[in-house]
Symmetry: C2
Subunit: 496 residues, 2 copies
C-alpha cells in the first residue's frame, strides 16, 4: 500500500527544497506567519475525512482526535504569532561607535536550511506531518521534507495535501514542503545523509532517534538533530502527601498511566515512595482502580507487540511482584494495563526496569529510606518530566532530593500528573539525554522554532541591503536590542 | 615542565565540579554577575608579571597583549551585565487559565552542568583560561574545568590563580573552577569522556575540534560541543569596487593577512575576483606591500612548522603561481608571508587549496566569469566570516551571489577586513560546519552564554519554592514573558 520513495525522487525533492530555501529565507516574519495561519485555517476546515482516516489508522477515539486536530491548528497559529512578533529573530544592533573597531554590527536569526521531519505514530496530527516540528521549521524559514509515519499513511497524505495546497495558493516554490513515504529504514537514513539537509527533528523511540543522531553526526558536515525519544517520567511521592492522599494519588496515577492506552511520551512509568502503610494503601487502591480501566486498542500491531514483549520482560525480572492487572482482552491489539512493584535496590541494580515500556505499564518502587530516594534520583537518566507529589512541608524536608531532580528533567511538576503538554512559552518538552538528544531545546511551544534558526551578523552593510528585521526604520516594528537596550523603535541614523 | 594531570586528580576535580554545580545553579544571576565583575577587577589588577609571561610564551607583542588583557576583563564585565539583566534567563510565565489543562507553567534557563573548556594558543587571555568560554559558562551557572593550553602554561596558571582566588574570596565551593595541565591528547579525551561533564567549548584546529566532537557524540550520554575550528574567510571583491580601489584593497588585504603573523581564526586566506586589469593592479600592489611587512615570530615552534609545511604544500600544487613573498628570515620561528594565485577551476578542483593555512598565507583566485564566482560560493564550506568588497552597485548586480554566501558564514562583511572581533551582542563568531560544530551559537559576545544553558519548566509550583527569576514578585526585576507579553512587572497573584 505505501509507496517506497525512490532515491531519484528524494534527490529531486531535496533539490527543490534547496531552491525553496533561497526564497524562504528572504520572506519576512510576517509573510511566514500569514502562510502558517493559512495552513491552520485549512486544517480546521478539514472535515470527517481526516478524522475517519486517522481513527481507522490509529484506533484513537474520535473525541481525542478532534481535540488533537484543534491543538494542531492552534500550534500553527501560536507559532505564527511568535514568529511575526520577531521573538525568534532576536535582532541585535550595535551601532558604530568611536571606540569600536568593527563599526556597525547587526545580527538576526535566519533559517538553518532544509529540515527533515520524522512523523510520530502516537500523535497523527500534533507530532506528525502537519505537526509542531513542521510548523516550527517553516516558521524559522526552513523548507520541510516529511518522512511520513507508515502507520497512518492516509492521514499523513491528507495533511500533506493541505500544506501543498497552501504553498500553491501563496504562489511559493513547491520545494517548501515535500512528503516522502516508505517503510524502510534506508529511506530515513538516505534523507539524513544527504549533504543539503541541514537539521533533523524526530519524535519516537530511543533506538530510532539515536540511530538518526549517529548518522547525522557521522556526516562529513554533521548537522543538529533534535530527537525526542521518550522517558519513564518518574513520580516521587513524598511522605506527608502520601499519608493524606494515598487513595487520590492512586486514582490519578492509574488515570494518567492508562490515558490513551499509555501511549504518551510523558506517561508516568515509575512511582517512587517510602515503603509503609501509606504506600500499601496506594497499592491497594491501584488494584481496584485498574479494574475500571476500559480496554482499548493500541495504535498499531507493532506497538502492541512491543508493549506485550517489554511488559512481560519486566514482569519476568527477579524480585518483582505483579500487583495490579486490568481485565485481560486476548483478541486484537488491546493494551492491558499492568503495574509491578520492586525494591529500590532491585530497581537500581536491574537496568531492564529503567527502560521505557511504551504503553500502560508502571513500576512502584518501594524505598527503605530517604537516602534511597536520593540514590535513585542520582542514578536516574534524563527525563522529559519528573513529578513531585508533595505538600509544601515535604518540599522543605526534601530540598536536596528536589535539587538533584532538577538536573534530570525538562519539566518538574508539583503534584498533578505528567501526561499531556500545553502549547505555551512556559512549556519545556525536552530533557537531558536520553529523553532528547539536546536538552537546550524544546519540541513543544513556540520556542520549538529556535531549533532551526542560526544567527548571521552583518558588518557595516548599507541599510538598503539589510533584511527588514535589521533596517534602521524597523519596518516590522519588532523588539530589538540596540546597543544592549531592548526597544521597538526606529533608528534615527543617516542612511549610508 | 608541564605537569601531566593524573586521572585521579581529574576525577577528583570533576567530583568537586559536580558538587559546586549544586551550589552554582542556586545562585541568582546577580550573584554570578558580582563574581564575574570581581574576576574582571582581578585581571585588570594583574601587572607586568602576566604580560611578561605571556610575551615570553607566545612571542605576541606587549601592545597586543595589553589590549587583549583589557578585552578579556571587558568580556567578563559585559557578560556579567547581560547575565544580571536576565537576558539568558529567558523567563517565560504562563499563568493558570480556565482553558488550559496544565495550570501554571514557568520556564527559565539553568546551567547545563560542568563544562570543559580548552584554551587556545593564539589568544592567551581572551580565548584561553580566563577567556570568553570560561566567563560565559560561569555566567550560565556552570562550573568550569580548564584544560590549559600547553603553549602558555605560566600565563594560564596566573589567570587560573585569579579565578581560584576570587572563588575563595566569595566563599564559594572550590569546584567552581579547576585548572588541568598536561600535553597529552589523552587528558583531553579523558575529560570529555567523563559522564559528569555536560558540555565542551574549544577553539583551535579542525582536527582537534572534530576529534573532541566525535568523542562527545560517542559517549553513552552525548553532550554538546561548541568547537570553533577556524576557516579561510574568503573575500569576494566585486568589479566596480576593484576597478576603483584595487590598490587600497591590496594594502588592506596584506595588512589583514599578516596581522598578528596571520594567526587569527578570521584571517582572510582567500581573495576571489574576476580576472583582468583591476585584479592585475591588485596583485602588483600586493607584491610591493608584502615587502613592507615586518617579520615576526609565530606563537610557538609547532605552529611555525605547520605553517611552513602547509604553505609549501599549497605552493607546490599544480597550476598555482607564487606572486608575492615577504623577506625571508631563515632563523627562528618567523612566519614569512606568501601569496599565490590560481584559476577558479583549479581552486574548485583541488581541495588542498581550500584548507586553512594558519598563518600569513593567501590565495588570489582569478575567475573567468560571474558564473564562476557563484560556483565557488556554492561549493564553499562553512566559514566564520565572508567579506564582500563592493560598491552598492556591485551588491545590486550580484544579489544571487550574496544570497548564496549568506548560507556559508556567521558574519558577512561589507568592505573592511575580517580579522578581529568585537565583543558585542551583534557579533556572531560561529558559522556553518566546518568553521564550528554548531552554527546556532556564538563564542564571542554575551550571547556566548546561551551555549551552556538549558530550559527547565516548573508546573504548578508554590511561589516560595520557585527560583527568584520566576517568583510572582519578580524580585530581580528582570524582563519576563508573561502570557506571551514581555514585561518587567511583578505579578499580582495570590500566593499558593
Amino acid at each position: 500500500m505505501i509507496e517506497e520513495a525512490s532515491t531519484q525522487n528524494i534527490d529531486r525533492r531535496i533539490q527543490l527544497a534547496v531552491e525553496a530555501f533561497q526564497f524562504l529565507k528572504n520572506t519576512t516574519i510576517n509573510e511566514r506567519a500569514e502562510f502558517m495561519n493559512a495552513v491552520a485555517d485549512q486544517i480546521e476546515a478539514l472535515g470527517d475525512e481526516l478524522l475517519t482516516a486517522a481513527h481507522s489508522e490509529t484506533s484513537l477515539p474520535l473525541a481525542r482526535l478532534t481535540g488533537e486536530k484543534a491543538r494542531t491548528a492552534g500550534q500553527w497559529r501560536s507559532y505564527a504569532k511568535a514568529v511575526s512578533a520577531g521573538i525568534y529573530t532576536e535582532a541585535r544592533i550595535d551601532l558604530s561607535q568611536p571606540e569600536k573597531q568593527k563599526g556597525d554590527l547587526r545580527k538576526y536569526n535566519v533559517g538553518i536550511g532544509p529540515v527533515v521531519v520524522f512523523g510520530a505514530s502516537n500523535f497523527p496530527f500534533a507530532f506528525s506531518t502537519a505537526g509542531g516540528d513542521t510548523a516550527s521549521a517553516i516558521g524559522a524559514g526552513c523548507p520541510v521534507i516529511i518522512k511520513a509515519h507508515p502507520a497512518h499513511p492516509q492521514t499523513s497524505q491528507i495533511m500533506a495535501d493541505v500544506i501543498t495546497a497552501t504553498v500553491k495558493a501563496f504562489g511559493w516554490p513547491e520545494g517548501i514542503f515535500s512528503h516522502i513515504t516508505g517503510k524502510s529504514y534506508e529511506i530515513g537514513a538516505y534523507l539524513i545523509q544527504h549533504p543539503d539537509i541541514q537539521a533533523v527533528a524526530f519524535t519516537g523511540s530511543f533506538n530510532g532517534g539515536k540511530a538518526l543522531f549517529d548518522i547525522a553526526n557521522r556526516r562529513d558536515n554533521p548537522i543538529p538533530v533534535f530527537a525526542e525519544m521518550g522517558s519513564i517520567n518518574p513520580v516521587f511521592a513524598l511522605q506527608y502527601l502520601l499519608e493524606t492522599k494515598a487513595e487520590v494519588l492512586a486514582k490519578e496515577y492509574i488515570a494518567s498511566l492508562t490515558l490513551g492506552v499509555g501511549q504518551f511520551c510523558t506517561n508516568p512509568g515509575v512511582f517512587i515512595a517510602l515503603k509503609g502503610k501509606p504506600l500499601d494503601r496506594f497499592i491497594n487502591t491501584l488494584k481496584v482502580e485498574i479494574q475500571n480501566v476500559a480496554p482499548a486498542h493500541m495504535l498499531h500491531k507493532g506497538i502492541f507487540e512491543s508493549f506485550e514483549k517489554n511488559k512481560n520482560t519486566a514482569i519476568a525480572q527477579p524480585n518483582v511482584e505483579l500487583i495490579a492487572s486490568a481485565h485481560t482482552e486476548t483478541e486484537g491489539s488491546y493494551g492491558n494495563a499492568s503495574v509491578i512493584t520492586t525494591s529500590a535496590s532491585n530497581f537500581m541494580n536491574n537496568p531492564v526496569l529503567s527502560e521505557e515500556v511504551f504503553g500502560p505499564f508502571g513500576i512502584v518502587v518501594a524505598c527503605e529510606t530517604d537516602e534511597e530516594l536520593r540514590k535513585i534520583a542520582q542514578q536516574l537518566k534524563g527525563q522529559l518530566t519528573i513529578t513531585i507529589a508533595a505538600t509544601n512541608e515535604d518540599v522543605r524536608d526534601n530540598s536536596k532530593l528536589i535539587n538533584l531532580l532538577k538536573d534530570k528533567c525538562g519539566r518538574l511538576l508539583f503534584n498533578g500528573m505528567p501526561t499531556g503538554v500545553e502549547v505555551v512559552y512556559g512549556m519545556q518538552h525536552g530533557g537531558p539525554f536520553p529523553s532528547t538528544t539536546d536538552s537546550r531545546f524544546t519540541s513543544v511551544g513556540p520556542d520549538a522554532v529556535k531549533r532551526f534558526v542560526r544567527p548571521i551578523s552583518f558588518q557595516n552593510w548599507p541599510d538598503e541591503f539589510l533584511p527588514e528585521e535589521l533596517k534602521n526604520s524597523n519596518p516590522l516594528q519588532i523588539s530589538r536590542m540596540v546597543d544592549g537596550v531592548r526597544n521597538s523603535e526606529s533608528l534615527n541614523i543617516q542612511t549610508t
